[in-house]
Symmetry: C2
Subunit: 198 residues, 2 copies
DNA sequence: CCATTAAGTCAACAGGTGTTGATTTAGTTC
DNA sequence: GAACTAAATCAACACCTGTTGACTTAATGG
């Protein structure tokens, strides 16, 4: 659970940037679990312990809020840090499996938010832009040969597939022992490698 | 475009099963393009050239309609026909790429409908049940060894990933020449094989 | 201490949601 | 052709949606 999703601890002080952050955090948590269309602004406001009107006031509306959740969450990007093509499979497998590392988990969560809401017309456009510029772009650049684009697509397909399987379809092969978890990470890495080399 | 999505051709006769089918068809087309939560019953009724009230009357409500769209579409299932484990990769690759074969296309469409709406709480439950019983179950049975379940999961992950990439994220590597299309099919088959063997 | 400004609250809006009951219409059967 | 039945229509329902304007309250500057 995040910092500010519960109603503020003591006396609520008047702090614009704090409530803004509180709304952003509550929205992130909601969009992480449901689709854009099925989340209401009143739900988010309730979680954040804030009046609904503030959302439209601070973010210009639901669409603006969603965009800010995504933009605020993309710090670091999925592929920003220096990463060679050969390291990618292992990196992605770890990203998918490891839910201890907070930083990794955060990156994966933003990915899930995108996956969840991509079918809502309004959110879809925002998401597709982001996927192109901030995921496929950097990824293709790392790969960097003639088939870079196509291979980036394959890689992303596998990543999305695993993400959907685990988080949306709730079919989680990772719910088992650490041993099973390790085997999964191996298989995932293997699959990512196949996406690159085949 | 489907048969009955446009307003009926001539004089509309009073035919319960025909209008029922018309609603079902219009709903399928809508759910194929948007998520459960963002599709309104009045949209569907409009497409079908039918009064909104008939939907709740015939299907018991939005949820019932959605369930019927899925159940009606699962004729044949994704894996019903006799299929050996070794044939699966080629079969799935063909399923994904070939949009000429109407039967194949139909199966894939049902898959997309599920992918699109899985994040809406009400539709999600229906979908997850169906995925378990009608996709993962038969698939694991075909694979049939000790790691069947895990390998079925991997296979499904790849299938969903490609589906999301193409239809929801609208990143379609298949928009090119027949040559490029053939290469894609090869790569997909390769990826499905990796999901099974690794 | 008062005035000013920003932050938060409240109520209402206009429009949309799924759903239901009463009513009318068309087709069938005697 | 009249009676009956099933199909389709209409209007309204209670509720929820995002958004806006006017208002109240708290903090800050002079």
């Amino acid at each position: 659970m995040s910092r500010t999703t519960i109603v503020p601890p003591g006396i609520k002080k008047r702090d614009a940037i704090a409530t803004r952050a509180s709304i952003l955090s509550a929205a992130r948590d909601r969009f992480l679990r449901e689709s854009y269309a099925s989340v209401g602004l009143r739900d988010i406001a309730g979680d954040a312990g804030v009046d609904v009107a503030l959302i439209s006031r601070y973010f210009g509306g639901k669409e603006g809020l969603f965009r800010d959740v995504l933009l605020h969450g993309k710090e670091g990007g999925l592929f920003r840090q220096p990463l060679s093509a050969t390291e990618i499979p292992a990196y992605l497998a770890q990203l998918v499996v490891d839910d201890a590392d907070e930083n990794r988990q955060h990156r994966m969560e933003m990915f899930i938010v995108m996956l969840r809401s991509a079918s809502s017309p309004q959110a879809g456009e925002i998401i597709r832009d982001l996927v192109h510029h901030d995921i496929l772009g950097p990824l293709a650049e790392i790969l960097g040969d003639e088939n870079a684009e196509l291979r980036a697509n394959m890689l992303l397909a596998v990543l999305m597939g695993i993400g959907v399987l685990r988080t949306i379809m709730k079919i989680d092969a990772l719910d088992g022992s650490p041993r099973q978890r390790a085997e999964c990470e191996y298989r995932f890495r293997c699959l990512f490698e196949a996406a690159l080399t085949c």
